[in-house]
Amino acid sequence: MTDRTELDPASQYQAPRNQWLDVWDQFKKHRGALIGALIFLFIMLGVFAGPLIYWQDPQYVPTGREFLKLRDMRPIYAVIWDSGAKVDWAHPLGTDNIGRDALARMMSGGQVSITVGLAAMALSLVLGTAIGVLAGYFRRLDGPLMRFTDLFLALPLLPLLLVAVLLFREPLKAGFGIEGGVFILIVTLIGVTSWMQTARIVRGDVLALKEREFVIAARSIGAPSRRIVMRHILPNVLSPIMVSATLGIASAIITESALSFLGFGFPPDFPTWGRLLFDSVDRMTLYPERVIWPGLAISVTVLSVNYIGDGLRDALDPRIRGR
């Protein structure tokens, strides 16, 4: 304390760095993650803001002569190798076999796909975090909850998902309308069947955190369990949760598309990318673009989300950060 005057406060003092700034700095270093984040943002923008610029109605089915004129249009780039192709600048990606605009359908399909992914991820995250924290924090619950998790991990998920979709589709359709019913069903099913990994990771971290000094200090001043969990434990398990959140979006999108592809997902007039792919498979020899665009959209989205998850994992790990 005696040599305080020697220090020039302006040169010594550094503004305390926010943890999230450090994370962002590390994240930026991961080139794949940065590109992935940009691409994901671009897809989100195209899908959700695109319809504001591109006014075609994805549901509009032309009739009469217009139908003959508009159906089965090829994408505009088809002219390059086939000068006689039926194209129109009004429909850049062409139209489907009943004349609906492909680009508009891709946008509305993407909205559903991404929303399903986000919602299912949120559900599985809430379930996984709750079960993980409960199992890690309360010793009495640990055994039963982890056995329960193991049992869920041993279930054959895809077959059960298919069966469950078939069983509950009709009652939910009656309750919430066709679109709402299927949406609720798919989101719930994916959420309920994908929380196990999160729960395991969170439990492991909570077990380690529970013995740390700051938690013991909080307990010794009489903080109730609820507050210890909310104030001290949850913020510290945020990083694994965030990583599994990003990876959860990717797997939810893939699961939803797989269900739609097998014909157990969304109805054709309320398509997702998976459903668009499924509907076009029969005619893919004549119109390969109808398969390639939705498939590409799914793959690129999932790839970018996976890269974001990868970068986030590195950025949130303090051992790697700063290297």
């Binding site: 054959p156 069983l167 598309s257 097998l262 498939g295």
Partner: protein
């Protein structure tokens, strides 16, 4: 080790019971009625009798018990009879499919070889490709090969099989015309030409399945190698003057294989699940396709049996993975 194995075996029994109960209860809620196809002119009491003949009249717990007995006792007996020509199971009621009125297990036995050839070959191909990739990209971490490998495994992770399958069909059978797009399961290999045809029709499904599996295994292999490469025993081996080949391919590789072997075992049931989609894309009539048609036709016994077979596979390979880990790595034995 024996103790551990027995304990592990005992744990899997309640797991299997829970899973069978889940599957059974889920299907109990099914709105589908096997009598829906029966003409309206059939009087209700006859319908009731038909229902009972299908075993639907009794309360739920009795049916569950009977199903368990059928699945775990009568069907294995039938298998035994078929293998050794005995007749222990004669006259016992087997699990009957509502679609075809023939025993479910017979149909499964017909379909299983198709799935097994495609899935099995894909798995082996994937392992053969994945391990060298993993080893090399860990050894030259952050090299061009490693970065390219990471990107390709990421792509293999992210491209769903229903898209990669459709894409290879468009490229290789529509544009190039090299391979048939539909897998012909009636094809028999008798001579060289038919063998070549069999190879041709297997290439695309195997490629699609193998891409996914390779991505997972090579990623794991790489991580496991990286963990081991910085260990002290590696430095010791180098200090002793062993050649680099011996250090990497004998010392490090053997230790890195321990977790990878378990991952390979754990992945097998998942591959059967993934094969459902691949079979649908390439029209292979294996058990995945059987499951889909059974679900659509409301054939409850078939769906129950198939789902349960998938569950048994998962539990079985979990068990195998655990025991393998115990054998390979003495540190984690619990006794």
């Amino acid at each position: 080790m024996l103790n551990f194995t027995i304990r592990r075996l005992l744990i899997s029994i309640p797991t299997l019971l829970f899973i069978s109960l889940t599957i059974f209860l889920l299907l109990e809620l099914a709105p589908g009625d096997p009598m829906a196809q029966v003409p309206l002119t059939v009087p209700p009491e006859v319908k009731q009798q038909m229902r009972e003949a299908l075993g639907l009249g009794e309360p739920m717990h009795i049916r569950f018990f009977k199903w368990i007995v059928q699945f775990f006792w009568i069907e294995p007996l039938n298998l035994f009879d078929n293998l050794f020509g005995t007749s222990f199971a004669e006259g016992k009621l087997r699990v009957i499919s509502w679609q075809t009125r023939s025993p479910v297990m017979d149909i499964v036995a017909q379909r299983l070889p198709q799935t097994l050839t495609v899935v099995g070959v894909a798995y082996i191909v994937a392992i053969i490709i994945a391990i060298p990739i993993g080893v090399y990209s860990a050894y030259r971490q952050y090299s061009f090969f490693d970065n390219a490998g990471t990107f390709i495994t990421m792509v293999g992770f992210s491209v769903p099989p229903f898209f990669s399958g459709v894409l290879v069909i468009v490229i290789f059978s529509v544009w190039l015309g090299w391979f048939p797009s539909i897998y012909d399961t009636t094809h028999r290999v008798t001579d060289w030409d038919s063998f070549v045809y069999q190879l041709k029709q297997m290439i695309m499904p195997v490629m699609v399945l193998a891409l996914q599996i390779t991505s997972q295994i090579s990623r794991f292999m790489r991580a496991s190698m990286l963990d081991n490469l910085n260990q002290d025993y590696v430095r010791t081996a180098r200090a002793k003057g062993l050649t680099e080949n011996v250090v990497v391919l004998v010392h490090v590789l053997r230790n890195s294989m321990i977790p990878v072997v378990t991952v390979i075992a754990l992945g097998i049931p998942g591959i059967f699940g993934g094969a459902i989609i691949t079979e649908q894309v390439f029209k292979v009539n294996g058990i995945g396709q059987l499951l889909i048609t059974a679900i659509q036709a409301n054939d409850l016994p078939m769906v129950q049996t198939l789902t349960f077979i998938f569950a048994v596979l998962i539990v079985l390979f979990n068990l195998i993975a655990d025991i393998l880990y115990g054998i390979l790595d003495p540190r984690i034995r619990y006794d």
